[in-house]
């Protein structure tokens, strides 16, 4: 009301200053009440999530489908189960253990730990089989091996889904891009060697995924490649130990080590 009237004389200037000051103060007040309300809501939500995770911690760890649902819910409300790893890095330099992730604080770090633990297993499996498959392993093969547990240990198996494995690989991101997930011929593979496949090589691996093996003439007939091109690609793949050679067929065949454990 006061602002509508312009007023007269010098006091008009101070009037304007006062009213703008009052606006600012009012705005400030609104902001703080908003912030308070939000903080209140957040703490309520956090408490609820905390309670939820405490009552269901066992399920989250042991039941794969429950874990997947839980992770999906977290995604939906904008909480990343793995964001913790980054928070830890930036805050942990000086404060030590105190600066845990939001996630770890809320869930008692059990979900976080679960994925880190799983990531360690994934890395183990990749390293163990590298001499056999040249560092390319199918996600479901990893899943199978983790389900079986470490060799020589009883009861070390973990019931995990492909989704869990993919998540755990994401948690390795801060360590540098050593582990990448690659889609080949409808199957997902974990590549644990720092190497990019060129289009020809990916194409061949895709074909192997479908047929189980390839030969030079097969590549020529199906992809229309020149003989020299096919030979060059196969030589590369053999050199990278991504395929195994079988010379006892009518024509030399190249097999994917992934099918070695399927019991063809």
């Amino acid at each position: 009301m006061a602002s509508n009237r312009r007023g007269v004389g010098l006091s008009a200037f101070s009037n304007a200053a006062i009213s703008s000051d009052q606006y600012a103060r009012h705005g400030q007040q609104l902001r703080t009440t908003h912030a308070d309300a939000l903080a209140n809501q957040l703490s309520v939500f956090q408490a609820a999530l905390h309670n939820f995770s405490l009552t269901h911690a066992k399920d989250i760890r042991s039941n794969p489908s429950f874990r997947a649902e839980f992770a999906r819910m977290c995604n939906a409300i904008g909480v990343d189960p793995l964001a913790g790893s980054n928070v830890k890095q930036s805050g942990g330099a000086g404060a030590g253990g105190k600066a845990g992730s939001v996630w770890a604080k809320m869930l008692g770090s059990s979900v976080n730990d679960f994925y880190f633990e799983l990531a360690v297993r994934v890395v183990e499996v990749c390293r163990e089989t590298r001499s056999e498959n040249g560092g390319m392993i199918a996600v479901n093969e990893v899943q199978k091996r983790i389900g079986k547990g470490r060799q020589g240990l009883v009861g070390g198996g973990m019931d995990v889904t492909e989704d869990d494995i993919l998540r755990s690989i994401e948690s390795l991101e801060p360590l540098g891009g050593m582990f990448k997930v690659q889609v080949l011929g409808g199957g997902r593979f974990i590549r644990s060697v720092p190497k990019e496949l060129n289009p020809d090589q990916s194409k061949v691996l895709e074909v192997i995924q479908v047929l189980g093996y390839v030969s030079i003439s097969l590549l020529r007939d199906n992809l229309g490649w020149e003989r020299a091109r096919a030979i060059a690609v196969m030589d590369d793949l053999v050199a990278d130990s991504l395929v195994w050679v079988d010379t006892q067929a009518d024509e030399t065949e190249f097999w994917s080590p992934a099918s070695m454990h399927d019991g063809a």
């Binding site: 001499s131 050679v245 099918s259 063809a264």
Partner: protein, 210 residues
């Protein structure tokens, strides 16, 4: 509660009735399950890539030792290898004789066990064609035999080599009917450690354990 009791008794009966039959009714040859990679065709071609080949040789080494352990084979003869060890008829693949030699050479290296030992050929310069397979090394055999002697209170007694191989007391033991030369090697380990003494010749040799 009353319903569960009759359930458990019949189920436990067949198992106890079957178990004594089991060793006699099924010959050991029928139950060997080859590893899945034994039906992987490239397994029978020596891999050109050296990293892959190293892995392949390790797989072969495990395969040969588990096969021999299962069939209780102590000595391999290259001119007459056991059935289906180096070949898989269902996929028409077999390891070439020269490649078998590579596998065995790999196994004979000290850093790999050694899991086999070539038996020197009769004539000089001739390639040997047979080997011992150490699914247990002579030292491990020595340990097992000595453990048994100790456990059965036969220290200080004299046993014949025949008794050790075919006596009634060792019928349940892993080394029954073991290759005689190999048994002597194992005993040699014990002699070296001062835990046994071998005397006498060939057939009627005796062993005294300390």
């Amino acid at each position: 509660m009353a319903a569960t009791l009759p359930d458990t008794t019949p189920s436990s009966l067949p198992t106890t009735a079957l178990s004594p039959l089991h060793p006699t009714s099924t010959p050991p040859t029928s139950t060997f399950h080859p590893p899945t990679h034994a039906s992987f065709p490239p397994f029978y071609t020596l891999q050109p890539n050296l990293t892959t080949r190293a892995r392949q040789l390790d797989l072969w080494s495990t395969h040969v030792t588990t096969y021999c352990a299962h069939h209780r084979i102590f000595r391999l003869n290259l001119s007459n290898p056991p059935l289906n060890l180096f070949s898989n008829p269902s996929i028409h693949r077999s390891l070439k004789t020269s490649d078998i030699r590579v596998v065995l050479d790999h196994m004979s290296r000290p850093e790999n066990g050694p899991r086999i030992e070539w038996i020197s050929a009769g004539a000089k310069g001739e390639q040997s064609s047979s080997c011992y397979v150490y699914w247990k090394t002579p030292a491990e055999w020595a340990e097992a035999i000595y453990g048994w002697v100790e456990a059965t209170g036969q220290k200080g007694a004299v046993l014949t080599v025949y008794e050790l191989r075919e006596g009634d007391a060792v019928r349940e033991r892993e080394w029954r009917e073991m290759d005689e030369e190999l048994l002597r090697k194992a005993l040699g380990v014990l002699v070296k450690r001062g835990k046994a003494q071998v005397f006498g010749q060939e057939e009627n040799a005796g062993v005294k354990f300390f």
